[in-house]
């Protein structure tokens, strides 16, 4: 019936209600879905990382949302966060995965363990690593980490069980053996630890930490030879980092230049170049403007003595705006190693002009100038270095040597004094200082550095002989003045230093005679006589001393001996002797 207003009104109402119900229902479904959708970490600001990281995170989130939050997408996001140390965000993702179908994988648990360890939560780390062990018992890195975490949490027994179980399937696994040796030592089991470590080194000679621990044990037990051998063994390059493919995989998501650089150094230092170099490539890919890859490549080339390549890398690092204070010293070293001193000088002059107050540049530039023999430039630069770092040993020594050669010894002495203050073992500075004071007739100032230098020197060497000669001269000079209360003491030191040298003996005899210590004078003269048995003046002096000691008969014997040794042409001496032998003796006799 067309046109019935009452009927169309109720139909409109019904349709309106149905539509409203549908809309409300859709809204309800939407709200329910939103409420139950995983809460991904909010996007943040990642100012300390390259922009590529932000884009990667945004992209990973979008994908996860668009795909309906599948576990693989959430997992990828978790690892992206974790690789770049956004651990809270990573944990939020793992929390989602825990509730998702399939739950967490062994690798997820391993990564959770890694976060817990980073946060210092050993108990949580142990729980996660035990989960890994349940499902992936063959993953060695996790088992080693579990053992370490147990040990660090104070559960040495639990750690020992873990390491022992590793050895059941992997005999002589080096890290497990080393850790068990540590536990043996904690329990007082020296012998067991030694046996274990020796077995370890036989199977794995690259385990230098094991050698270091053995060296310490042997040293403690007084087994010095063995300790020395182990010490030498321990000084080889550090042992390789244990394989951890899951962490390596995590690092493929890393955008953190510092983290990659540190890992590069770790691999490089332990000789794992194949693992190290790709990390530098990644750094360069992430931040093409960063100079760090070139700096580290240069550093690694220099360590491998490929200085030509090192220089090229350092130059690239500088061209990229790298910090010259960090790069120039390394580059100068490589240029010096290549014998390209003028290139090194040119480089350093360039950056010195830009940074005249930079201590690292000053030091490197002065080093180049010294090697070039450019004393004028070196002097200026070294003085500037020492204004800023007055106690730098190499700079003080270099300047001292230049100034010494040019006769500016007073300033050289100041440099040498500084070296002796900071270096207890430097011999050259002490030798030069001793010589300086000797030339100025300052024996008391010469003696301390010369004594210190001799103590550091090996007997029988030319240096030792030279030092001995100088110190002897200083002692004699200090002693012969007689002014110091220790004068005789100094002469005694000279005699002890060189008993075959008559000089100190003669001075001592004279000094003691002047002081009327005739017995001491006689003792010195007798030693002198033994050195020079045919020297008549010694017998003359000895006789005089014995006479004053109240031994006239013995004195006469020596005078007569002297007469026999005196040549007929030596009338003065013969007369003096005759005065003593034949004539009555008065005080005038001895004048």
């Amino acid at each position: 019936m067309a046109g019935n207003p009452a009927l169309s009104g109720s139909r409109r109402t019904r349709w309106g209600l149905v539509c409203a119900a549908l809309v409300l229902g859709a809204a309800g479904v939407f709200v329910i879905m939103r409420t139950h959708a995983p809460r991904l970490p909010a996007l943040g600001s990642y100012g300390n990382l390259p922009a590529a990281f932000g884009r990667a995170v945004a992209g990973a989130r979008l994908k996860a949302v668009a795909d309906g939050y599948p576990s693989d997408d959430i997992r990828a996001l978790a690892r992206l966060y974790q690789a770049n140390r956004f651990n809270d965000e990573a944990l939020a993702c793992y929390a989602i995965l825990r509730k998702a179908p399939g739950g967490l994988t062994a690798q997820d648990h391993y990564y959770l363990g890694d976060i817990a360890l980073y946060q210092g939560d050993l108990d949580q780390a142990i729980l996660e690593l035990k989960e890994v062990e349940e499902t992936e018992p063959q993953y060695l890195a996790a088992r080693l980490e579990l053992g370490d975490a147990l040990f660090k949490s104070g559960d040495a027994a639990g750690a020992a069980r873990e390491y022992e179980s590793i050895l059941e399937t992997m005999p002589n696994q080096p890290q497990a053996m080393f850790s068990l040796a540590r536990i043996d030592l904690m329990k007082g089991g020296d012998d067991k630890a030694i046996t274990r470590l020796e077995t370890l080194l036989t199977a794995h000679p690259e385990m230098t930490s094991g050698a270091g621990l053995l060296a310490q044990i042997f040293d403690r037990r007084g087994e010095k030879q063995k300790a020395l051998l182990m010490t030498q063994w321990s000084r080889q390059s550090p042992e390789p980092v244990p394989d951890d493919p899951w962490i390596d995989e995590l690092l493929t998501n890393c955008y953190d230049v510092q983290r990659l650089s540190l890992k590069f150094e770790e691999y490089y230092t332990s000789g794992e170049i194949d693992k190290a170099l790709p990390l530098l490539d990644r750094v360069e890919e992430l931040d093409p403007k960063s100079y760090i890859p070139q700096l580290l490549r240069g550093w690694s080339q220099a360590r491998a003595h490929n200085d030509f390549e090192a220089v090229a890398q350092y130059r690239m690092a500088l061209d990229k705006g790298g910090d010259p204070e960090k790069i120039c010293p390394y580059m100068a070293q490589s240029l010096i190693a290549l014998g390209r001193l003028s290139d090194a000088a040119k480089l350093m002059a360039e950056f010195y002009a830009k940074k005249p107050d930079s201590v690292p540049i000053l030091i490197a530039y002065s080093d180049v100038a010294v090697r070039q023999g450019d004393n004028v430039t070196a002097t200026v630069l070294l003085r500037r270095v020492l204004e800023k770092e007055p106690y730098r040993v190499a700079a003080n020594m270099n300047l001292a040597k230049i100034l010494w050669a040019s006769g500016e010894r007073d300033e050289a002495a100041v440099c040498l004094e500084r070296v002796t203050k900071v270096s207890s073992s430097d011999v050259v500075s002490r030798a030069l200082l001793g010589e300086y004071h000797l030339r100025r007739s300052e024996p008391l100032a010469a003696i301390p550095p010369l004594e210190e230098a001799i103590a550091q020197s090996q007997k029988g060497t030319p240096a030792y002989t030279s030092l001995t000669s100088m110190l002897y001269a200083a002692y004699v000079e200090a002693g012969s003045s007689g002014a110091d209360a220790d004068a005789v003491g100094f002469l005694d030191k000279a005699i002890a230093l060189d008993p075959a040298n008559p000089n100190a003996l003669a001075h001592k005899a004279a000094l003691c005679a002047q002081a009327r210590k005739f017995a001491d004078a006689a003792d010195a003269l007798e030693k002198l006589r033994d050195l020079q048995p045919n020297n008549p003046t010694i017998y003359l002096s000895l006789g005089d001393v014995l006479y004053h000691e109240g031994k006239p008969d013995e004195a006469r014997v020596d005078w007569q001996r002297a007469m026999l040794l005196t040549s007929s042409g030596n009338t003065a001496l013969r007369e003096a002797l005759n005065a003593r032998i034949d004539a009555p003796i008065t005080e005038d006799t001895f004048r």
Partner: protein, 434 residues
């Protein structure tokens, strides 16, 4: 509506009373552990909030000559005149000096004893029973890495007239970084705890005082890397134990429990599996003032790389002593290059704050922090408060009431090891402005 209002007001009142009583329970009794506030010392509440304006700094002692290497400081009243002094280790000039507070706030410095090579740590004790404090010096031989046996333990013997004479108690050993006197046996004589960092080889030993200046060594640990090894009764049994922070790839906190007769049992309390953790300093203090000594330590050493500097895992943590041998790890906060933890109630609130300085930060960044306080809210939740950005390269900080006025001052020492060197200092006193 009225009923609703009444209910709300009543609820608020009840909550307020509850909060009051809860906080009242947290008010500390006299502290027994070694914080900067000794038992009985009064504290003056500071209204000024912790921050860059909390302290004013000035250099004390001799001016910096070149780039100083201050390796340790010790605040102590060395001459017993009632004024606190500062003892200083200079790792470059190989000497120990005494910055003496001659009058309140006035300091004069003099060298004491003969040179000591690579001095790294200072303690004082009346080792010989003379009534005067001798100075114990840990000698590394040289400060930069070296595995040679060039370490020694040196005591500067105090004759009571401000003259000190060196006496070597131990030498030709792995580099020594810590020595402290403590009663480790029933003998009544002060024994020595000795931590030896070494480099590839190192150890911890204790030296039994046999009397007559004679000591006998007993080894405790065969590992390099000891930073600090303070003696403390960790479990309240009346016997002095030893706690040690060991770095060099180990990165562990050890406790050596004493049976009272010098027999020690080693156990690890906590450690990091990160070999580059950079353990840098440890101190014993009752952080939460429950009567049990806790352990506070830092990790901030970032030297051993092509590019020295900070690491993101650097910071401060404490191990809470729960009793019965249990320790609970708490991270206090991140702090690049953290060194030298100190526990002190900086504002007089009654709660122990933690202070640390930075020895290895990115000093090219003007925002890099060199001195940080972690402020305790009373429940051992710590909020970082920046105290200073300059001077830089601070390797040691100590806290003490320098002027006996109930307020805590700080003293820092700088170790200028790598550039930039734009903000050089040597020994700096951080005092209150008013």
């Amino acid at each position: 509506m009225k009923r609703l209002l009444c209910a709300v007001v009543t609820a608020l009142l009840v909550a307020g009373v509850l909060v009051f009583f809860l906080r009242a329970r947290r008010m500390p009794a006299s502290a027994q552990a070694s914080t900067a506030a000794a038992a009985g010392e009064r504290r003056v509440l500071q209204k000024q909030p912790l921050g860059p304006d909390f302290y004013a700094s000035r250099a004390i002692g001799k001016p910096a000559e070149g780039l100083p290497w201050i390796t340790d400081l010790l605040v102590v009243d060395l001459d017993g005149d009632g004024l606190k002094d500062v003892l200083v280790c200079d790792g470059r000039l190989n000497k120990v000096s005494w910055i003496r507070q001659v009058r309140l706030g006035v300091f004069e410095e003099q060298d004491i004893g003969q040179p000591v090579q690579g001095p790294a740590h200072l303690e004082v004790a009346d080792l010989r029973g003379t009534g005067h404090l001798d100075v114990l010096v840990s000698s590394m031989g040289v400060v930069p890495p070296d595995n040679e046996k060039i370490g020694s333990v040196v005591v500067l013997e105090n004759d009571g007239t401000n003259h000190f004479t060196n006496h070597v108690l131990l030498d030709n050993v792995a580099r020594v970084t810590y020595v402290q006197a403590a009663h480790l046996t029933q003998s009544g004589r002060l024994d020595l705890v000795v931590g030896q960092f070494g480099y590839i080889e190192g150890e911890i030993r204790w030296m039994e005082n046999l009397g007559g200046g004679q000591f006998k060594s007993h080894q405790l640990l065969d590992l390099p890397g000891t930073i600090h090894a303070p003696a403390v009764d960790l479990n309240g049994d009346g016997k002095t134990d030893i706690v040690a922070l060991v770095s060099q790839d180990s990165e562990e906190v050890h406790a050596f429990m004493n049976d009272g007769n010098g027999n020690f049992q080693d156990r690890v309390l906590h450690g990091s599996t990160n070999k580059d953790y950079g353990s840098s300093g440890l101190v014993i203090a009752d952080v939460n003032q429950d009567g049990r000594p806790d352990i506070v330590y830092t990790n901030g050493d970032g030297f051993d790389y092509a590019t020295p500097g900070s690491r993101p895992w650097h910071g401060v943590q404490w191990l809470e002593n729960k009793g019965a041998g249990k320790f609970l790890f708490h991270r206090v906060g991140d702090f690049p290059g953290a060194f030298s933890p100190v526990v002190a109630d900086l504002r007089g609130t009654g709660y122990n704050d933690i202070v640390s300085c930075s020895g290895f930060n990115d000093w090219n960044d003007p925002d890099a922090v060199s001195l940080m306080a972690f402020e305790n809210d009373g429940s051992e939740h710590f909020t970082p408060r920046i105290l200073a950005h300059v001077p830089t390269h601070l390797i040691v900080v100590k806290a003490a009431d320098m002027f006996n006025d109930g307020r805590i001052e700080l003293v820092t020492g700088a170790f200028m090891f790598y550039p930039p060197y734009d903000h050089v200092s040597r020994v700096t006193l951080w005092e209150h402005k008013e």
